[in-house]
Symmetry: C2
Subunit: 335 residues, 2 copies
């Protein structure tokens, strides 16, 4: 269902016609390219499902609740709130540019967006909805049956169809054309002196060892607290929960820095409130470097240039339930 | 800030150029006209605030949580869920076409949309946010200060500015051009025989005594249970809470029937799940009439022709908090 190749071809074609675009800078952070889906109907269905609170037991929590597209694809809480006001264990990672990551979730326990999408629906502290009941809800809504039929050639709705549609919608949630990308593509005026100084310092001090690629992150798992241990009250142990290896304790997927101005608070436990604080802690714990205030300001100035064009999302109109649609139950225990 | 006159003038001008539109039928239900704001910047600011979860103590509840524009302007719960999963006492009325009502809330305690908008923000079981703190949050966000300055000529944000903006956005949330309105404007083919029979029965049996005007409701307060008392476990007593008069017990604002296919479940307590059930109960309790099954089906068929064009809403991109923005606290008691 993906057509990254087509998107790339278009990007290359555009690049060939543009003088400045031919001078792409060779940096550890790469530009983000727009995603062109070859299945707009699948994207549209996925958008509906992304905003669909009937995929939750309460009937009021959707993917967009914690991955709010009005707010940089996250909820800006330390850790998320789920079914019956349950406290989540980790900070909600942004859905923006999440297609560019090597795996999904902080601990990488899902290989891709499709595998990820099913998790929060049934997690008891998130949407709290058994997959079977979620399918029964969708299957009871004639407009959905018709739409699945049109997209998949079958109106017998499956979890794979639901997650494939959500994943394809999420593929479109990239944020190209940030000022940093404009600079990467040769526009020397896109960054100020301070921002450029910040980027040079960021690179020179080793941040790009982890924060690289088009998402400026998401390309590896790394231990939180390399030089000094990270102090946290969070019981979450990261990648070790997936691999079972003691060496992977406190190892997490490196988060993207794209749109990081919007995705506060920071770290897997959401304990860093500001970019200045996060930069300071990263310098000390990961690099053994104590940045001076001016250095932090420059790095933060650079980080804010990673804000790209947010996806323009027209709110879907969700089809009404039928008389036989199972009613939501906000007070039910999650199963 | 309103320009209903302009909207009307445009509608009339259009009507004058259209043969069928000149034969508007004189019925108790009137067509809905589009709303053209003369302050698009105010509308845009209001849209941001309507989707703004930082107006809640938890940082995750916005106007759109209970008045979801993807779902006919409501949450489709019996009664809404608020701060810390508090149970609301009444069913969330749709925000769609709410500008057409004589007053706001089920008991009419707010005179207009602007007066309404401030209530849920500070209600401890809704958004749980003291107005002072909400203003402090907005004031700490430079992009908001700039936008209020541009719209109101002052960056000193007040509650009146906030509610004026939300109200003006809500004015735009009308749903013109339903099939019923097409029929009202002279298109004889807009309704099927069954739908038309349903409307005739609806009118002949007295429903339009209360469900009239462009919103097919919202023009009066009426007692729930005229012929027979309404049986409900809900402690809500309606209009009496505002007037203090015993005669107003169980008197409620007549809800709009526009888009009623989307605004289930029904009544102030949300106890009627389907349109068939609601029609049956209304017939018995308000009119002393027991509709036969076929009659109910015809009335329901008519009711579904009241679904209009839903507002096309592009999700706003909310400006990021600053380092001094008060953090949300999902676990705080509402004040």
């Amino acid at each position: 269902m993906k057509s990254k190749a087509i998107g790339l071809a278009i990007a290359l074609a555009l690049a060939a016609t543009s003088a400045w675009a031919s001078t792409v800078r060779d940096e550890p952070i790469k530009p983000i390219e727009p995603y062109v889906s070859d299945s707009p109907e699948l994207v549209e269905l996925g958008k509906k499902l992304f905003f669909e609170p009937r995929l939750s037991m309460s009937g009021i929590i959707s993917c967009n609740t914690c991955h709010n597209l009005a707010r940089g694809g996250t909820d800006n809480l330390r850790t998320s709130i789920g079914h019956k006001w349950a406290a989540g264990p980790v900070n909600a990672p942004t859905v923006l540019n999440s297609s560019l990551a090597l795996a999904q979730f902080w601990d990488g326990r899902a290989a891709d967006l499709q595998e990820q999408a099913g998790g929060p629906i049934e997690a008891d502290i998130e949407m709290g909805m058994p997959h079977g009941l979620a399918l029964q809800v969708l299957q009871s809504i004639p407009d959905y049956v018709e739409e699945f039929e049109a997209v998949f050639g079958s109106g017998e709705i499956t979890v794979d169809m639901v997650t494939a549609a959500i994943a394809e919608f999420e593929e479109t949630l990239v944020t190209p054309n940030s000022r940093f990308d404009q600079w990467l593509k040769g526009d020397d005026d896109a960054l100020t002196e301070d921002e450029l100084a910040g980027y040079r310092l960021f690179k020179a001090s080793g941040c790009t060892v982890c924060h690289n690629g088009p998402a400026a992150g998401g390309t590896s798992f790394q231990r939180m607290g390399v030089i000094e241990p990270y102090q946290s009250t969070s019981p979450v142990e990261g990648r070790a929960a997936v691999t079972g290896k003691d060496a992977d304790r406190f190892s997490f997927k490196v988060p993207t820095l794209r749109n990081v101005e919007y995705t506060y608070p920071y770290f897997h436990d959401g304990e860093a409130r500001t970019l200045e604080e996060a930069t300071d802690i990263m310098g000390r714990l990961q690099l053994g470097r104590v940045y001076e205030e001016q250095e932090i300001d420059q790095i933060v100035a650079f980080l804010k240039t990673l804000t790209g064009e947010m996806p323009e999302v027209t709110l879907p109109i969700l089809p009404p339930s039928s008389n036989v649609t199972p009613a939501p139950d906000p007070y039910a225990d999650a199963e």
